[in-house]
Structures are given as C-alpha cells and as structure tokens.
C-alpha cells in the first residue's frame, strides 16, 4: 500500500488501495468466507499485509465476508493486537519507568504531544512520527530518557524536545 495520507475532512488516515492490494485482500476473503467466526484471523492476515487496518481495508473485508463495517470496527478497536493507525517513519518513545517518571517524564510526554500535535499512540498526519511510551529502559541515571528510533536522548528538559524532534 503506497498511498496513505491523512484526510482532513475525514479526520483520519486514508489508504488508497491499489489493484494488487485488492487481490491480496480477495485471497484473505476467499480463505475465510465459509468459516463463520473467522473474522479475527482474517483481520490478522490483513494487518500483517499493511501494518495497520485502515477503514478502507475494514470495509472491503466487511463486504467480502458479509459482516457489517461497524461490527468489524468494534472488533478492531477491542483487541490490543489491532491498530487503525499507520506507523510513522520515525518512532519516538518516551520512558515512563519509575525513575523517569519521578524526574518529570510526564512533562516530557506532554511536550512531545504538543510539538508533534498528536497524542501517545498516534501518528503525525505527514506520517513522519509515531509517539509511544515505554516502561523502564534501564537508563535511570540519565533520566528522563526518550528514544527516537534507536537514538537515546537523555537528561531531557521539556525545552529541549522541540529541537531534538526537528533533527529528524
């Protein structure tokens, strides 16, 4: 799936599915069409194709499997395994372990959310960043810590966040 973009009007990520995406989805539908109840495995297969489950995929699967989109959406949002948000090119993870927390990691997260204009668990509209929080990364002496991809940024202060994120 090459074209994923954020649609302002829809307020969500929209995927423009290509011919070959449909073909792959058809294979999944074929596999599970006659097996009532096999929605979850079907969604898993679809997510492993695209990395996430945009509405377009949910709808197409719904049509093929004869399941209403609202039912599918309900299932997708219920289980921890599924996500409707694509991963950004960079992933920023802030440590919320005890030591970082005590040293003000919650302020860091707040600042990250502000400068990227997204919440934890979301991806920026231009797909450049995803924001996550993690438990202790074992760098307590350098707290608070955040990782951008594999780079560690340590002893952070909220004022530094903006500049760090800009480098990517």
């Amino acid at each position: 799936m090459e074209s994923v973009h954020y649609d302002e009007k829809a307020g969500r990520f929209v995927a423009r599915l290509q011919e070959r995406d449909y073909l792959k989805l058809d294979q999944i539908i074929e596999r599970y069409r006659d097996k009532p109840g096999f929605l979850i495995p079907a969604l898993k297969d679809a997510q492993s194709l695209f990395g996430f489950l945009p509405m377009e995929v949910q709808r197409y699967l719904g049509k093929g499997l004869k399941i209403s989109p609202s039912h599918i959406y309900g299932v997708v949002t219920f289980y921890a395994f599924f996500t409707t948000v694509p991963r950004g090119r960079h992933v920023a993870r802030c440590c919320l372990g005890t030591a970082c927390y005590v040293k003000g990691a919650s302020d860091i997260v707040k600042k990250m959310e502000e400068s990227l204009s997204i919440k934890v668990g979301e991806t920026t509209r231009d797909l450049s960043f995803s924001l996550e929080v993690v438990r202790c990364v074992g760098a307590c002496g350098l707290a608070p810590v955040m990782f951008v991809d594999d780079d560690a940024h340590t002893m952070l202060q909220p004022e530094k966040i903006e500049a760090i994120l800009h480098k990517y």
């Binding site: 495995p41 309900g74 299932v75 289980y79 921890a80 005890t98 005590v102 040293k103 307590c140 002496g141």
Partner: protein, 595 residues
Amino acid sequence: MGESRLQIMVCAGTRCVSGGATRLRQLLGEALDARGLAGEVEVFPAECNGLCGQGPVLAVQPDGIIYGPVRPEHIPLLIEEHFINRRPLERLMLRAPALDGRVPLMKDVPFFKDQRLIVMRNRGRINPERIEEYIAQDGYFALSKALHEMTPEGVIDEIKRSGLRGRGGGGFPTGVKWEEVRKYDRFPKYTICNGDEGDPGAFMDRTVLESDPHSVLEGMAISAYAIGAHQGYIYVRAEYPLAIQSLETAMAQAREHGLLGSDILGCGFDFDVTVYPGAGAFVCGESTALMYSLEGRRGMPRIKPPRSAEAGLWGLPTNLNNVETFANVPAIILKGAAWFASIGTAGSKGTKVFALTGAVSNVGLVEVPMGTTLRTLVFDIGGGIPDGRRFKSAQMGGPSGGCIPEALLDTPIDFDSLTQAGSMMGSGGVVIMDERTCMVNTAKFFTEFSVDESCGKCAPCREGLKVMLDKLTAITGGAGEPGDIAFLEKLARHIQATSHCGLGQTAPNPVLSTIRYFRDEYETHIREKRCPALICPALIRFRVKEDICRMCGLCFNACPAHAIQWKKKQPAFIDRSICTKCRSCIRACKFGAIE
C-alpha cells in the same frame, strides 16, 4: 525414543538457552561424532526442568543422572568419563541448594523429589514434534480405551469419580460439566480448550501446549466422545506462536495416524480440532467472552445463565476446559478414577502445575499433589529465597488472586484452602516476594493490570477499579489520607458483589488480601508517608543514616547519576538535587543504611 543407547537431554528452556545451551548441544553432537559415538548417544533438546538457577543443565537418560551447570570446556572430560569409561562425572553433577555436595540422580534432587508428574508426565522425555514418541509413552491408549471399551456415560462417570476439577481457576468439577453438556439434545456440540493464559507470571499452559500437544488433543477427543461433539477449538493467545505451531504439527500427525478426523481408530467416531489464535484481550479467558471471540465478536462476557453448557458457541451446548484439565484426562482414563482420586486432598484431587517465579532459587514449572503446603513448594522445591533474604509473601492466582503471608505458609494448596485464605488457585502462577517488595505497590500493579484489561461492559469493574487505582496511586505517591483503607475495603466489596463476570468479581482480591495481611504497610504509607520496603520513590527520603553507614562506598559506585559523595572513612552523602531516585543505592547497600 530412537535406537540409541543413551540420550543426552539438554535443557532448551529460556534461561539455559541464554546460558549457551544451544551451542552446548551443537558442541556435544560434534564431540560425540568425533569420538565415533554418534550412533550410541543422541543429543536432544528437552523441555525446561525448572532448575534454571543451575543452567545450562543436561540429563543423561536412561541413567537418570543430571549435570549442571555445564560449559563447553567440560565436554571432552564429560564424554571421556561418562560415555566411554562409564563413570559418571561427579564434579559436574548438580549441586542441590538444600543438601551438602553433589546429587547424581535426578530422582534424589529435592526439586524433583516432592513433585508428582501427571500433566507433565512426558517432561523431558519426548520430542513434541514426533507423535511416535508420545504413543511410545502410552499416548492415545486412553482414547482407544474410551472408544473401544467405554460408553460416553462411562467416560463421564470415570471423570466424575476421579474428582477432577477445572484447572483454569474456577475449580468446577469437570465430569459434572461434561454430563451437563451431554444432557442437552441440540447439535452440533462443541468442545473448546482454553489456552488464553493471561495472568502475569503464568506460563504452564504454554509449556504444555509446546512440549506435549498430543496430551491436550487426546484429552479433547475423549471429552468430545463423552459429550457427543465432533468439532473442537483450541483458543490460544496470539503471544504464543510456538504453541500454535506445535499444535498444528501435532494435529497434522494425529490426522495422518487416524487419531483425528473421521472414523477415529476405526470406531466410527469423527472429531477434528481447529486452532484459533486470540488477539490480545485478557478478558477472553472468561468462558462466554472466549466464545464470543471465537464467533469473531468483541470478547465481552454475558450474564449467566444460561451456562455455556446449555448455550455456548453459536448458542449450542459447549464444553470448555483449560489446557491442564485436558492434559489430565488421558491419565485418568488410562489409570482409573480411583488412582487419580488417591492423590490430593478430600476436595481437590490430583496434582497442580505451578509457575514458580520471583524471589526464589529454582524458578520454573513444578507439579505437586494437591494439598502440598506452600512451604514445601517455596522452600523444598523452590530452594528457598536467594541471598539469605526473608520470605514475605506468595502471590497466587495473578490479578484475580491474593498475597499469602508468611504466617500461612503451611496452608495446604487446594481450591478451598486458598479461597479461605483470600487468594485463589487461579491458573497456577506463584510469584514469591521477599522483604524488598512493597505490598501496596504490588496491589497497585495488579489493579493497573485489571483496569487495562477490563472490557468496559459493566460499571463496577470499568469505573470502580479505576477509582481504586487512583486511591492506590495517591497512597503510594504520598497523598494517602486516614480513612483510605476503609474506603478501599468498601469499594472492593461492592466491585466483588456487583461485577458481571469473574474478572471484575476477583479483581479486588489483590487489594483486599494485602490489606488483610499487610495492613500495617498501608498505614505506614498513609500516616508516616514512608514505604518500609523502600519501593515507592515518592516516599523514600534518599538519605544516608550515618549511624548505620559502614562507609564502604558501594552506593557511591552504584549511583549512575553521580549524586553520591563519598570518601574513604566517611559516610556517604546523597545530593538530592542531582538524585534521580532510581534506587540503585538502595539495591547496592548491604546494611540498609539508606532511608
């Protein structure tokens, strides 16, 4: 098990592998080859025996001699002595923590001595990828006996008389459940294996599925015959890819051998199984939620009755048992109800598998007869608490269970005694805690888990647990107030009484049990704003008690933030403007000088 004269079973458990067991296996194979012993001695990966503290561990069968820890440089000598001179190498034998000296024979190691293996009867003895090895250990004989010699009613009667109770936590009598499903005249019926093991610290179902999948398949086939079902499902959590793979392999082999599919063993009985991977929702361990999930819906429990025995999957009569329950069934059918009922206590028969973790010397899976005391489990089998620390509490039953204090160490482990003690059998996770554990923080941890996993359908669980967590967060953060304990107790009772399903009804147990047995710790947090175990950072002063400090400098070396000033013959000093409260100094100090 092959044609070789001797087998070397090298542990393939996580701890041994990280200690180099895989390389050890490869080197052993090469060394045996070089000495021309490859045909005589075969090297196998084996399931974790639970002696992780002394890994990498290997056992030589059928000699029954166990060595550990074994390093690559030991190999030449080991082969020379044990396999050529036939003189077991004493200096490499396992050292038992409780005994003096080396213990050559597996059966003499205290860790194994007090265990009784029914569910894990094939532990370390078979290769799960070969059905022939399972069959060689009397595998599928029970299914054959049931199909050829017993009526479905006879099977149910046998299971009822054995006293087998569900191993997933609830402890419902298995035979009674089967009888109920059989009684309904609606078809098709289903039998489901619950492998949605979700408690933090529990991994026995995963291990059974990975290392002895046929025992579960055989148990399911017997249950299907008893209740009149022809289709089974195994619901396995998605986090267990190896278990799923192992099951798929086992099912394919069973089909090839006519042990699954149509006309099993020529008896005209059809039964097949489908593996269904879950998608990450703890609540799906609840029976009705699991069945909704199998139907491709959100896994939210519904009100009972009707019980799933009457209206389960797709509204049809359905039997649901846990992995461990099914693994018990073939042994009962083969050896008889009387044999099984002779093991255990009056109300709880047979054995239970526990995942022993936390502050205990032997971390791993153990299987003991019901009625074994917690003391035996922790001190004899578990080898006690390492580093001379003190036992504080055993957390059993995960987020649905409770903490059992030292005073109740002699409680026999069975369904009823544990419930009485305010905990529960649960699925079998046992986390041992020593004096460095804060009980309020532990209660908070489990409540956090339950808040995350609440499905949100009913208010007491969805909202009540959140309020409970807020209160616990306040207490551990130094904002506790008098009256908080009473408030927590009252709220907990309400949640227990009014929640919809087992998750909500049991989620307050960690809080209630810690209040019951460790009330003083709550009070210290609230009144003195102090965490006696030095866990809750907001309640630690990070100050060196100069009268206790031995000026050794260990804390100085341990501090990653360079917040500690220390010179020889001077007590250390913590600069709190630099301190990150990471607790490294507390862990490093041998004298408890930091408060």
